[in-house]
């Protein structure tokens, strides 16, 4: 019994992994097909790929007993069959139904995966079946409006409703013909007898029997594009993690070797030592290559997230009756698979916020002197060891007064600063929502608190730039990879700590006499202004603060630069991050530990948390 259960749950895991692929393919090809809405041609390859993905997912879902997904796909296949029959693009409503179907399948599978109650599919099913045409013959109607016909009350709208009476309009496309005239072509599926429209030519309507399109294969087992997958292997994430851990161990072992070599310098004959050192350095290079190769396996194009965005925005635009152009750039940017999974919900939340709250309705936009159509730009890029994701809209911007008054309600006292980073901090306070009742689309997801916490938990940062009436931009920075990073080794008293290189902007040497008080903070002159200094000795209740000179590393935070004072900085090196999971050892300001090669754990500073603590203390005084 148990072994059977085990193999079944493994099988389910496979199902979830594979369904993700088919869903991805469905989303991708639906987006491609969207371009053909109300056109008289559709790329048969796209339709065939859609059939293929849907068929595979349907089969799999049936096998593991996810019958709700099976039913929805079955209905969707009906709608897609209409597209196939006509060989022309789908109608707006058919496209909508297919997109809605895909979304509900996502929800069904996600619910199954997290063992939550499944969504109700009745509405989705009836939505999809409502767009499916009855079986019947296909007819091509053509209507050319003219002033005479129009005088008799016959125009494209009356023709459309006449056609809807006899069957289902599967496609309608306007064409410009000779002489600059416009003619409308309709494809209609109808069971009624031909005699019914024998005299319609008097009303400017010509009709012909349409031969079903033959060039679209519903042959789901066809070859062609399936061929490249033969050279792909699917690997469980856990195995890659294990590989990564082993590489981490190798990096630590090499660290041991380097330590020993350092001690042996001057003891061993110079030539022998040099030879060993060369081998050591070669090993270092090779390890780095190995690490990068493994990292690459884990990297997936961010397009995976972007496709979801497209879908969500599509649904939201419809629900909110807004006119929005979604611009995506940098789809090819590669990002760690783990980051993709963890970032999905936070990004979707930001997108929902932008569409529901940020961007205005067309009327509002025109009244404000803007273009009727708003935009939402999402950009991904890589720089050094970081991935940047930016979301920018040209909506109304954050209502700072509302944010301030809401913060007052939540108990904020004293002067509330309203620069971009302070406003972002306020927005991320737990329980913050300027709407008394969260509306359906935004209320469902995670709050800004979680967005910020998720990003910071992954070692990233979130920044915001908002301009009243002009829009809002969020900038997310994430580390390229999680397990191994470059770090600076610093000493507080006699204890070493590691600081992620990515958190450090600059390193300074400071004489104690250069520190002065300003607004209750200890600062030094820096650039054209001052730099507040946080003494880590004090924060960590350690000795060593009374030195005449010390080192400061400068970090950039939400509210400007901050200097963190330590006794000395020993140098930079590659560290393997080990998480500290036990609550007894999880303290503010420490994000994990590493091993520098002597078996002694070295704590990794959580610079963002330290700056946060400092900021809270500073604003409390």
């Amino acid at each position: 019994m148990t072994s059977k259960d085990n193999s079944f749950s493994e099988f389910l895991d496979d199902y979830f992994a594979e369904s993700e692929e088919h869903l991805g393919s469905m989303r991708r090809h639906l987006l491609m097909m969207e371009g053909a809405v109300n056109r008289d041609r559709v790329d048969p390859h796209v339709v065939a790929e859609l059939f293929r993905a849907m068929h595979s997912l349907k089969g799999l879902s049936g096998m593991v007993g996810v019958h709700e997904a099976e039913q929805v796909i079955h209905a969707m296949e009906g709608a897609l069959r209409d597209v196939k029959r006509t060989g022309a693009g789908p109608t707006e409503s058919a496209m909508e139904a297919l997109a809605a179907g895909t979304r509900i399948i996502e929800q069904i599978i996600a619910a199954r995966r997290s063992e939550k109650p499944l969504p109700d599919i009745t509405a989705a099913l009836s939505h999809i079946t409502s767009v499916v045409a009855p079986q019947g013959r296909l007819w091509d109607f053509q209507f050319t409006p003219s002033p005479e016909l129009s005088a008799r009350g016959i125009n494209v709208n009356s023709v459309r409703s006449r056609l809807q009476e006899i069957g289902q309009v599967l496609n309608s496309t306007p064409h410009v013909i000779e002489g600059g005239l416009i003619t409308f072509a309709f494809i209609v599926a109808s069971d009624v007898d031909e005699s019914r429209f024998s005299d319609w030519h008097l009303d400017g309507l010509t009709v012909a029997h349409r031969n079903p399109a033959t060039d679209i294969a519903e042959d789901v087992h066809g070859v062609g594009s399936a061929a490249p997958s033969a050279s792909l292997v699917r690997v469980e994430m856990k195995r890659l993690d294990h590989l990564m851990t082993m590489v981490g161990d190798l990096v630590v072992s090499r660290g041991h070797v380097e330590e020993s070599l350092r001690r042996l310098e001057g003891i061993l004959p110079a030539s022998a030592w040099r030879e060993l050192q060369e081998s050591n350095l070669r090993l270092q290079r090779e390890l780095r290559d190995l690490r990068e190769s493994i990292m690459h396996i884990r990297m997936v194009p961010i397009a995976q997230i972007f496709e979801r965005m497209h879908f969500v925005v599509r649904g939201l635009v419809r629900d909110n009756h807004k006119d929005i152009r979604l611009e995506l750039t940098g789809q090819g940017t590669e990002i760690d698979k783990v980051l993709v999974e963890r970032m999905m919900d936070p990004l979707l939340h930001l997108v929902r916020n932008a569409v529901s709250h940020g961007l205005e309705s067309s009327e509002e936009r025109i009244a404000a002197g803007k273009t009727a159509e708003g935009y939402l730009r999402i950009r991904a890029s890589t720089e050094a060891e970081s991935v940047f994701i930016e979301l920018e809209d040209d909506g109304r911007g954050v209502d700072i007064e509302q944010v301030v008054s809401r913060s007052r309600v939540l108990g904020a006292t004293g002067v509330i600063t309203t620069d971009n980073s302070s406003v972002l901090q306020l927005l991320c306070v737990p329980g913050f929502s300027t709407r008394d009742e969260a509306d359906l689309s935004t209320g469902r997801g995670v709050g800004m608190t979680i967005v910020k916490a998720t990003i910071e938990g992954l070692g990233g940062t979130l920044a915001m730039n908002t301009q009243r009436g002009e829009g809002t931009r969020f900038k997310i920075r994430l580390p390229l990879t999680l397990a191994i990073m470059q770090a600076l080794i610093v000493y507080i008293d006699d204890q070493p700590f590691a600081v992620p290189r990515s958190a450090i902007q600059e390193v300074l040497r400071v004489e104690r006499c250069a520190v002065r008080m300003q607004d209750g903070n200890e600062v030094i002159s820096y650039g054209n202004g001052v730099l507040p200094i946080v003494f880590l000795h004090r924060l960590f209740k350690m000795a060593g603060e009374s030195r005449d000179s010390f080192h400061v590393f400068v970090t950039r935070s939400d509210f400007g630069e901050v200097g963190l004072a330590v006794d000395r900085i020993k140098g930079q090196r590659e560290i393997v991050v080990r998480r500290v999971e036990d609550l007894l050892a999880r303290v503010p300001g420490i994000s994990g530990a590493t091993d520098l090669g002597d078996g002694r754990p070295v704590l990794i500073l959580d610079v963002a948390a330290i700056v946060d603590t400092f900021r809270t203390q500073a604003s409390g005084t």
């Binding site: 530990a593 002694r600 754990p601 704590l603």
Partner: protein, 149 residues
């Protein structure tokens, strides 16, 4: 009486002049003290963190946990890596050298006099008392030590 089925094996350790026993099946390793990194602002009895098998675990100073004065570690000091439920932790003790089987009927629940032996602070960590010849072994309630935090 001495049937192995009726006894359980314990790792014995010394703490402030008393002998304690912890079930050996909960003990993953006994190591020399050392290599413990202090964690700033952690609870007072948390000596720091230590690395064992690639895992970073907290090290609990059992003297401090029991309310005895802290003493510097020496060559006799030991770290017991123990596991209870989902937590793995190291316990710093004065020394640990013995591994014994204790007959189950030699263990009896603590009464008030016994608690006085163990000191007021450590009474809640006392699960029972065993008499081995002329020695008294205090049986540790491990769960209370590392979970009851």
């Amino acid at each position: 009486m001495s049937d192995p089925l009726d006894s359980e094996s314990f790792v014995l350790f010394e703490l402030s002049c008393s002998t304690w026993g912890v079930r050996s099946q909960a003990v993953q390793a006994v190591e020399m003290a050392g290599y413990v990194t202090a964690v700033p602002n952690a609870l007072p009895f948390v000596e720091g963190v230590t690395l064992t098998r690639g895992q970073v675990i907290p090290c609990i100073n059992l003297r401090v946990r029991f309310g005895f004065p802290r003493i510097p570690t020496d060559l006799r000091s030991r770290m017991l890596v123990v596991r209870s439920k989902n937590r793995t932790a190291a316990m710093l003790v004065d020394s640990a050298r013995e591994f014994v089987a204790i007959p189950l009927d030699a263990i009896h629940p603590p009464d008030e006099t016994d608690s006085a032996v163990a000191s007021d602070f450590s009474a809640r960590y006392l699960e029972g008392i065993a008499t081995l010849g002329n020695r008294i072994v205090l049986i540790l309630n491990l769960e209370e030590v590392i979970e009851g935090i």
